[in-house]
């Protein structure tokens, strides 16, 4: 195997590879941030909402989580143009990943909120806090502690899922890799390189998650 040719090709294509990695970062970041905001709203609606709020939120989570991400990406891309929203591939992909992320965050938050005891809400009411206040000062900080490790896992999933945007033509890291391969036919080497880059990104996120998880760990969890 000619490794010097491979290294030469990596150097020649370094700008494309860096650009692809940047797109991967950008689209993952958008999906994680926007998805988290939307997911928090859905998580609250599904846990504390009244029926007209809870049902649509539950339905949203079940529908999105029952659909493969690839189908979600393809559907968002094709359907958005069919109904007249002319989204670029990048926008459609980011939207699909955001919807996907929101359903996960919603479910994670629901799990965390439901593990908190009901008495805490009552205690908050007793000292005269509004629901906003109870959520902001009592529930959310505790839920964050339980939800954070799973949330980090979801972030890793988003980076992994961003590879699917290559199918609709977003030139992120994987599609860039495929374009380079179509010029030099170094299939194995360049897929391996892409794998290493993805691994490093995901591994780094995982380690940060572990670190934060350790910092937040409670010495004992007192059940009330």
């Amino acid at each position: 195997m000619d490794w010097s040719y491979f290294f030469n090709e990596v150097v020649n294509n370094r700008d494309a590879l860096l650009h692809g990695t940047a797109i991967t970062f950008a689209v993952s970041l958008i999906a994680i941030l926007a998805g988290t905001v939307l997911g928090i709203v859905i998580g609250i609606a599904v846990t504390y909402g009244n029926k007209p709020l809870r049902w649509p939120a539950r339905l949203y989570i079940d529908i999105i989580r029952g659909t493969p991400v690839l189908v979600l990406v393809l559907a968002t891309f094709y359907v958005s143009s069919a109904v007249g929203f002319n989204l670029t591939a990048f926008q459609a992909g980011a939207l699909a990943l955001t919807l996907f992320c929101a359903s996960h965050v919603g479910e994670i938050l629901r799990g965390a909120l439901q593990s908190l005891s009901r008495g805490q809400i009552e205690a908050g009411r007793a000292i005269g806090l509004t629901f906003g206040g109870i959520f902001r000062y009592i529930l959310f900080p505790q839920a964050l502690r339980y939800a954070l490790p799973t949330w980090i896992t979801a972030a890793v999933e988003m980076v992994k899922a961003s590879t699917l945007l290559s199918v609709i033509g977003v030139a992120e890291l994987l599609l860039t890799t495929q374009q380079i391969i179509s010029n030099n036919f170094l299939n194995m080497q360049f897929y391996l390189l892409a794998g290493v880059i993805y691994f490093l990104i995901d591994f780094a996120i995982e380690q940060v998650g572990r670190f934060i998880g350790r910092r937040l760990e409670q010495p004992t969890r007192r059940m009330v």
Partner: protein, 221 residues
């Protein structure tokens, strides 16, 4: 929005769509079977007395869990022939999905192993069971029972991941959905039907697994 719904061109292809979802289920079943067997070995290795065996197991889990499944699929299908290992697309996809599953199943089984009370293992030693028999009659049954809910979630994930086989032209549901999409331009209908089929299947799997759990999991007293 003036879009006129017309489901007829999609339902004309109904048998093809069903065959696609059948293939997806088959791919997921085969992959979870191989992945579980491999994952069980990795889980035991991660608890082995030998330090090297343990770090090998954790490296395996960490690498496969942090790689996008699409990269694994493409690497095996397009990259391996360069090393002289050409597999047809279905076999190559099954290998990819099984490897991916093995890392997740190893985590599931590792959690299951940790949940077996030490006292039961000691009880086995006290009545003179060999270490193989302790594993066979005490550790494994309890581990499988505890691992069942997580096993179910992984199976559903894998079933959804079979949609990626479309990228290497394995004729499963997503592959046919894309084909019908480009042939008939019934864009909304085809993606609606495809997602619904996936959702219904996932829901059906959940129901089957819940029934299994009810039979197998002991009531907590």
């Amino acid at each position: 929005m003036n879009y006129h719904f017309n489901f007829a061109p999609i339902f004309d292809q109904w048998p093809i769509l069903l065959s696609g979802i059948g293939l997806g289920l088959l791919l997921a079943l085969v992959s979870i079977a191989i992945g579980s067997a491999l994952g069980l070995v990795v889980a035991f290795a991660s608890r082995a007395p030998n330090r090297w065996l343990r770090s090998l197991a954790f490296t395996w889990i960490s690498i496969l869990r942090n790689l996008p499944i699409l990269v694994i699929v493409l690497f095996l299908f397009f990259g391996m022939p360069q090393l002289g290992l050409s597999l047809d697309k279905i076999t190559s996809f099954i290998v990819a999905l099984s490897l991916y599953a093995s890392a997740y199943m190893a985590e599931v089984f590792r959690g299951g192993l940790l949940s077996v009370p030490q006292g039961l293992i000691e009880a086995g030693q006290a009545i003179g069971l060999t270490s193989f028999r302790i594993k066979r009659y005490i550790v494994l049954p309890i581990m499988f029972r505890n691992a069942l809910p997580a096993f179910g979630n992984n199976f559903i994930s894998l079933f959804k991941d079979t949609s990626l086989a479309a990228t290497i032209a394995v004729p499963e549901l997503t592959f046919y959905a894309r084909k019908i999409n480009s042939e008939t331009f019934r864009v909304i209908e085809v993606w609606l039907v495809a997602s619904l089929l996936y959702i219904v299947c996932c829901y059906a799997i959940t129901l089957v697994l819940r029934a299994m759990e009810k039979r197998l999991v002991l009531e907590k007293t």
